[in-house]
Every structure is written in structure tokens, then in C-alpha cells.
Amino acid sequence: MIAYTTDQYKQYLYDVIEMIEKEKDYLSDLDRKLGDGDHGVTMSIGWQAVKEKLDNELKDEMDGGEISKVVAKTFLNAVGSSVGPLYATGFLRGSKVLKGKSELEDQDLFEFWIAFGEGIKERGQAEVGDKTMIDTIDPFVQSIKLQKDSQSFLHAMDNALREAEKGMLSTKEMISKKGRSSRLGNRSKGFQDPGATSVYLIIEYFQKSLSSVK
């Protein structure tokens, strides 16, 4: 494979920023059913803050680790909320993998996304079935882990995304156990979890980014 450059990584982050602006009303709508209706707002605030960094401070930064670290800190401090620590921990763990690297090989990508997903899981202390973003990210991580030594990252991504999507969709029928919607009990059934949705979009966009590189 052609190595994935940090320029491409930055372009990916810009794509996510654009996507979030498009999807923010949808994400808030989902959260309105289950929580306080702000998931699109929090994501937009966070990613817009990241954009500001990409446009300025990170303009000439080529170290993938540094970029991820700034993304993590910026997102966290702009957002707070539940997703601030969750996504920030994901990017922070990922930053350790990418430290010092400006060209990312398959191996780096595998390790980045495993660290990203495991970081979120550790931070949130939620389990599969709790109706959170873990229902998307855990099957995704399991899947790429299994394929790590046998597949290209792009190929592994195809399979893992299918698992992630299944996970995301499965939140519809779950009863919330973590986060704001847990109080709803049975009333939470029938609605897809907003965090499970946003994290799916974020990894899906990474696949798009990778594919466009090839």
C-alpha cells in the first residue's frame, strides 16, 4: 500500500468537520429522543474548535502524534460533556501510536484505531449492550484486532465497519443503561443512540479517506 500521510490525515479531519456540520441536526434529533438533545451541538462545537487549530497552529505540523494530541485536547476543552473525555481519550491514546510519524503504515493504522477504541471504552466504563458508542466501537475494535495480522487495513476496515454498523443499529432495540437516557428504561427502546451514530460516522469517514487515497 501507499503510506497514508499526515496531510491526508488532516484532510480526513477536515472531512469529519464538514460531515459533523451536515449531520449535527440529525445527531441532536437522536439525542432529543434519549437525552438532552445536544449531541450534534457538542460535536459541532468540538470539531469547529479543532478546525480552528488545523487552520492555524497545526497548519505545518507533520507529526501525526502531535496532531492527534492537539485534536484531543482541543476537543476536550471546547466540549466537556460526556463525549469530550470519550473522544479526547480516543485521540490521545491514538496520538501515542502516531508519535513522531508523518507517514502511516497499515500497522500504524491498526494500532491507532485499536488504541482509539480501547481508550474510549476504558474512559466510559460502559459495556456492549449499554446503548452507548461502545456498541459501535467495541465490535469495530474486535474485528480489526482479529484481522490485524492477516489483512490489509483497508480490507480489515470493510469488515470492521460492517460490524460497527450492526452494533450501531443494535442500539435501537436496547434499553439504556449508561448516560442520560438510562433513566428512560423501556422508553429508550426504539431509538438509535446518538454517540453510537457519531462514532460510526467518524470511522466510516476514515474508510472513505483511505479509499480516496488508493
Binding site: 441532536s28 432529543r32 451541538v41 457538542t42 466537556g80 469530550g84 470519550l86 433513566r183
Partner: protein
């Protein structure tokens, strides 16, 4: 929903700006972090610090409760979003007098994570001892046998009041935390929503209700309640709220309580006093003494309509602490 705002994403910073300009003798914003507000006057050396915080949109909570006899500092989040660790750490450093800081916040995933991360930083980098008091007074949010899942709502006012008074009286870090946790243990809240709130950024109603409906046990960020019910007379609503509380905690004949009838935003004081009237009747019938009452907007959900009832069972220590003087920009008690 029409709002008197400028740019939706700027509301929190502009509110803070107005707040510290309105009460410069009482509070100030830290240079280190624009989302950290602390008491303006110098606090007593060795006093344990009390730090509160959470999302905005609940004013007077939490921002309004910084002052003598209440909190020493607050970290202010975006609307309905926990503050990130930075403003928490900044406020922690500013208010620590060498004897540590008690963090008081509601039992929400976001607050747990952010305050938790902040405490780690404060302890690691600054060597400040931190104690956590996680408020979970909302009866509706989980059954009694899963109390650890319950959310913190209006009852946090009493927890802050007690912690602030205890710190002022010279309690140690552990003691302040202990009595605050004890207050949380004997505090229960139950709420009802009549009309939704609107986030400035989306301007969408947080829930939709028919003209004859109410949300029972709603969250105080406009989260849907546990149950929709037919809108009833104020007395029947009060009956329901108090009954749910008394089913959850034993408060018996001769016990003393503090009562808070809290408005969620657009409900008038007139209505809140009508609800209080019925709460008093119920408790009087059971020979439960109301030692002190609070009626008004103590913890809102933007402009949501509805109210909550909070009961805190008082022993002698809590009685004394509830009675102590307090002086904050949005709340004073003589």
C-alpha cells in the same frame, strides 16, 4: 422560542461576562480560564475549598452559588454539558488553601469523567487533595435498589449549602465531604415537566407534550421523563411527587425536613407556592416538621415549565448547617 441572546454559541461566555461584571464584589473570573469563577473576597486560610460545577442552563445553579457559606469556586460548562477538566483544575488551584478541595457535582457520565480527570490532574500536578461528592437525589431516575444510577438534580442545592456552611465552620476535608455525602443520602427529589426547553443552538423543544400532558420524573436537561401523565391539578401533582419521595425514604412522624419547591424556569412563583401549600399539608398530616422552606428557581432547565419537590431529612448537625448565613450573587440567606 425567542431568546434574548446574540450568537447561540456565545451565550455561556457572555453570561459569565455579565455575571462577573454585575457582582464584582462577590465573584471574579480567573485569568487562567474563562470558565472558572471564584469568590472575590479572600477566604480564610486553611479553609477547605468547595468546588461546584456542571453544565450551564440551570441558573442560578451552579454559577450563582459561589459565595461565603456556599461554594468557593465553580467550573462552568456549555449548556447541559459538563465542564472539561481545565476550568475545574484552574478553579481548584485558585481556591485550595492547603487543606484540599471538595468537588460537588451531579451523577452524570460527563461530570463523572471530567471531574474525575480534573481531580487526577490536581492531585498529580498540584498535590491538592480532592474529595468527591456525587449528588444523586432524583428518585425517578432509577429504582431504590440501583441508587448509584440516579441523577443529581435540585437537591444539589442543599448539598452545596451544607458543604459550604461546614467548610466555613472549619470542618476538615474529610468532614466536609462526609457531611455533604450524608446530606445527599437523606435528600430526595421528584420533578414534573409541563413544557420543554429549547437549546439556543437547535431551538427545538426538548420534548413534545399534548396540551393535557405532563412528563413525570423528567431529567433536568429536558430529558424525557419516566412516564407521561395527564396534567392534573397542582394538589394532585404535589401528592404524586411527595408520595414518590416518601415511598423511597423513611421520614416519620416527628422528623424534621428542609423543603425545596423548585421551579424549572417558566413556572411562576405563584404556582410554586400553590404546590408548596399542598406539600406542607401532606407533611403536616404526617406530623413531619418543615424546619425551613425554599420556594423558587434554584435549579432550572432553561425555560422549561414545571417544578420539582426536594425533601432533606434533617438531624441537628444538618439543621445548623442549613441555617447558616450565605451570601452569593443569586442567593443570600440571613
Amino acid at each position: 422560542m425567542k431568546k434574548l441572546i446574540n450568537i447561540p454559541n456565545d451565550v455561556v461566555d457572555e453570561m459569565i461576562d455579565g455575571y462577573v461584571k454585575a457582582h464584582p464584589k462577590l465573584v471574579r473570573k480567573l485569568n487562567e480560564n474563562k470558565r472558572s469563577i471564584v469568590i472575590a473576597s479572600e477566604t480564610r486560610e486553611n479553609k477547605v475549598g468547595v468546588l461546584i460545577g456542571g453544565g450551564s442552563g440551570h441558573e442560578p445553579a451552579f454559577m450563582g452559588y459561589v459565595g461565603k457559606g456556599m461554594a468557593d469556586g465553580v467550573a462552568v460548562g456549555n449548556i447541559f454539558a459538563s465542564p472539561p477538566p481545565d476550568p475545574i483544575v484552574a478553579a481548584t488551584k485558585a481556591i485550595d488553601k492547603g487543606n484540599g478541595v471538595v468537588y460537588i457535582y451531579g451523577n452524570y457520565a460527563g461530570d463523572l469523567m471530567n471531574f474525575g480527570m480534573a481531580a487526577e490532574l490536581a492531585e498529580l500536578e498540584e498535590d491538592i487533595d480532592i474529595e468527591f461528592v456525587v449528588v444523586n437525589d432524583d428518585v425517578a431516575s432509577a429504582p431504590n435498589n440501583e441508587k448509584e444510577k440516579r441523577r443529581g438534580i435540585a437537591g444539589e442545592f442543599f448539598v452545596t449549602k451544607v458543604a459550604g456552611a461546614a467548610a466555613e465552620k472549619g470542618y476538615s476535608l474529610k468532614e466536609v465531604a462526609e457531611v455533604a455525602r450524608q446530606t445527599n443520602n437523606v435528600t430526595r427529589t421528584m420533578g414534573v415537566g409541563l413544557s420543554p426547553c429549547y437549546l439556543p443552538q437547535t431551538n427545538e423543544p426538548s420534548f413534545t407534550l399534548e396540551n393535557n400532558e405532563m412528563e413525570i420524573g423528567l431529567g433536568h436537561h429536558g430529558e424525557p421523563g419516566v412516564e407521561k401523565g395527564e396534567l392534573q391539578e397542582a394538589d394532585r401533582v404535589a401528592d404524586r411527587l411527595v408520595q414518590d419521595i416518601l415511598n423511597d425514604i423513611t421520614i416519620s412522624k416527628g422528623n424534621k425536613v428542609a423543603v425545596l419547591v423548585n421551579g424549572l424556569g417558566s413556572t411562576t412563583k405563584m404556582e410554586l407556592y400553590i404546590v408548596f401549600r399542598r406539600v406542607e399539608q401532606i407533611l403536616a398530616e404526617k406530623s413531619i416538621e418543615i424546619y425551613r422552606s425554599y420556594v423558587g428557581n434554584y435549579s432550572t432547565s432553561l425555560e422549561m415549565g414545571g417544578c420539582s419537590v426536594t425533601l432533606t431529612k434533617l438531624d441537628d448537625e444538618l439543621t445548623e448547617l442549613i441555617d447558616a448565613e450565605a451570601n452569593c450573587p443569586m442567593y443570600a440567606q440571613l
